[in-house]
């Protein structure tokens, strides 16, 4: 049992060490901008279709379910604001982060894991390249830039999904749906809606890199690292969203 905790503490330390180095490298030469661009494309452009699909259907389903409940109070007109608040504050950031965790935390972990077991990371160090600078920092930057943008897309597409229900099934006009939805938004919601994806981005990229970089045990180890990265990143997304929401509710 104490062995288990020792391992946990040492893993936790290693993670913060990696995180510290990755952040410090943002302000240190050399910068590998080519790698940043490459990662942005993999994370941003690559995830766009699935984010759009999921965003649309979450707004769609949300409006569908809400309209039934609201109907019992004769308040179906409130569907726009409710979908908006739920998407911007919680669902948009969390769903997008989970998708990106599934797609990219795993991708990062398996890519870095393969490099680790084929000793490419050792070779990098032997040849004078800092693997954190070359591999981790670009992925951190790229995810932090792309995830908030993906979240905005998901929020918007989700609103469109909600509008589809409101228009076709609730017979609302565009202004009946969109105007109150926009009016409900406060500054606080924007901050929360963009702070979350930013923090999730840090967690997803660093967790992916962490499990990738500490892969051992050949090809099997790469599979293990990939699974661990997705599970751990996803759990942290849930924990952190609850935590951040709690802070903002108290503000």
């Amino acid at each position: 049992m104490s062995e288990f905790f020792k391992a946990l503490v040492s893993e936790w330390q290693d993670f913060w060490f990696l995180a510290g180095r990755a952040f410090a490298n943002i302000f240190r030469s050399p910068h590998y901008w080519d790698d940043v661009a490459l990662q942005m494309e993999a994370i941003g452009v690559g995830s766009l279709p699935i984010v759009i699909l999921t965003g649309f259907f979450s707004g769609f389903v949300l409006a569908m379910q809400m309209s039934r409940a609201l109907n019992t109070y004769g308040a179906t007109g409130q569907v726009g604001p409710i979908v908006m608040i739920t998407l911007v504050r919680e669902l948009g950031p969390v769903l997008t982060a989970l998708l990106v965790a599934g797609r990219n935390a795993s991708g990062i972990a398996s890519e870095l894991g393969s490099m680790k077991v084929s000793e490419q990371i050792d070779a990098m160090r032997a040849l004078g390249t800092d693997p954190i600078q070359k591999l981790v920092t670009p992925r951190l930057i790229a995810t932090c830039v792309m995830l908030p943008q993906l979240t905005i897309v998901a929020d918007f597409v989700g609103m469109v999904g909600g509008f589809a229900i409101s228009y076709f099934s609730l017979r609302m006009t565009a202004s009946q749906y969109w105007t109150p939805a926009y009016q409900i938004l406060e500054f606080n919601d924007f901050v929360q809606g963009l702070l979350k994806p930013f923090i999730f981005a840090i967690v997803i990229s660093l967790v992916g890199c962490f499990y990738g970089m500490k892969t051992s045990g050949g090809t099997q180890g790469v599979g293990r690292a990939t699974t661990q990265a997705v599970v751990v990143a996803s759990v942290w997304v849930f924990v952190l969203t609850a935590f951040i929401t709690r802070i903002f509710v108290n503000l």
Partner: protein, 277 residues
């Protein structure tokens, strides 16, 4: 002798381990001590998991030792910071057991990497890089693969590219981790001939980890003949006789150290496993 090798010849010992301990969950290196002199060939034999790869990684500071001292190129690297290690490591070429070729780069870019990256020796001009990469690839007879990716090559060819990358800077010390593992005997002998050729052409010290006794035999008994190409028995050319020392590892300890004759004369049952008659 290359410029690098000459520099070290003045500096004395190329690599020294002084009572080195290293452990992960269990002890992997246990009181390991040895010295490698310039131009020397050292063959490390030992069962899988006996700590051979760990020893090579500790030698260039990729792994930190828990106790003892590692001196590389006359510099104590035991507690050197990563950024200061870069300059010392530039004197060492490494062929990794798993290859370590960057699979996102072409063969040519892989071989150019040490020249472009190890700026400690001063920037190498672009046309000079190109010339030396071509030369290194010609050395391993793989010039034609310049624009291919490592994944497109066979296992033996990847090993040869790894050798080209390890020697392109003409380092005074080259580490070869299991250069013949997983290869057929013919390809394995080709690889060993290349390693002997590198040693005899450049006078670099070489450390070769292997489980094939023949590999050590080739290094001890043969020389590269630059006139005819190919290996000739060392006896036929006594003028060049670099030392070849064998070292046998068992569970992190060096259980034998000596030349080929004393290795073959050893009565130790474990050591005898690695000697074929």
């Amino acid at each position: 002798m290359s410029a690098g090798a000459e520099r070290v010849a003045q500096a004395g010992t190329v690599l020294e381990f002084d009572r080195v301990d290293l452990s992960f969950d269990v002890k992997v290196l246990d009181q390991v001590s040895f010295r490698v002199e310039p131009g020397e060939t050292r063959v490390i034999l030992g069962a899988a998991g006996s700590g051979k790869s760990v020893l090579l990684k500790a030698a260039i500071g990729l792994l930190r030792v828990d106790a003892g001292r590692v001196v590389l190129m006359g510099q104590d690297i035991t507690r050197l910071e990563e950024k200061d290690l870069v300059a010392v490591r530039a004197n060492v070429g490494v062929l990794f057991q798993e290859g370590g070729l960057f699979d996102s780069l072409t063969v040519g870019d892989n071989v150019a990497y040490p020249l472009e990256n190890q700026q400690v020796r001063g920037a190498v001009p672009a046309e000079e890089v190109q010339r030396r990469v071509t030369e290194a690839l010609r050395f391993v007879e793989l010039e034609q693969t310049m624009d291919q990716y490592p994944a497109e090559l066979s296992g033996g060819m990847r090993r040869r590219v790894g050798i080209a990358r390890a020697v392109v800077t003409e380092p005074p010390l080259v580490l070869y981790d299991s250069p013949t593992a997983g290869l057929d005997p013919i390809t394995a002998n080709t690889i060993m001939a290349l390693i002997a050729k590198e040693r005899d052409a450049k006078g670099a010290a070489s450390i070769i980890v292997t489980h094939r006794y023949q590999d050590g035999q080739i290094m001890a008994d043969f020389r590269y003949n630059s006139e005819r190409g190919g290996l000739i028995p060392a006896a036929a050319d006594p003028s060049s006789a670099p030392r070849t020392i064998f070292m046998v590892m068992r569970e992190g300890r060096i259980v034998f150290e000596g030349d080929k004759a004393s290795l073959e004369a050893s009565r130790d049952a474990y050591v005898r496993n690695f000697v074929r008659r």
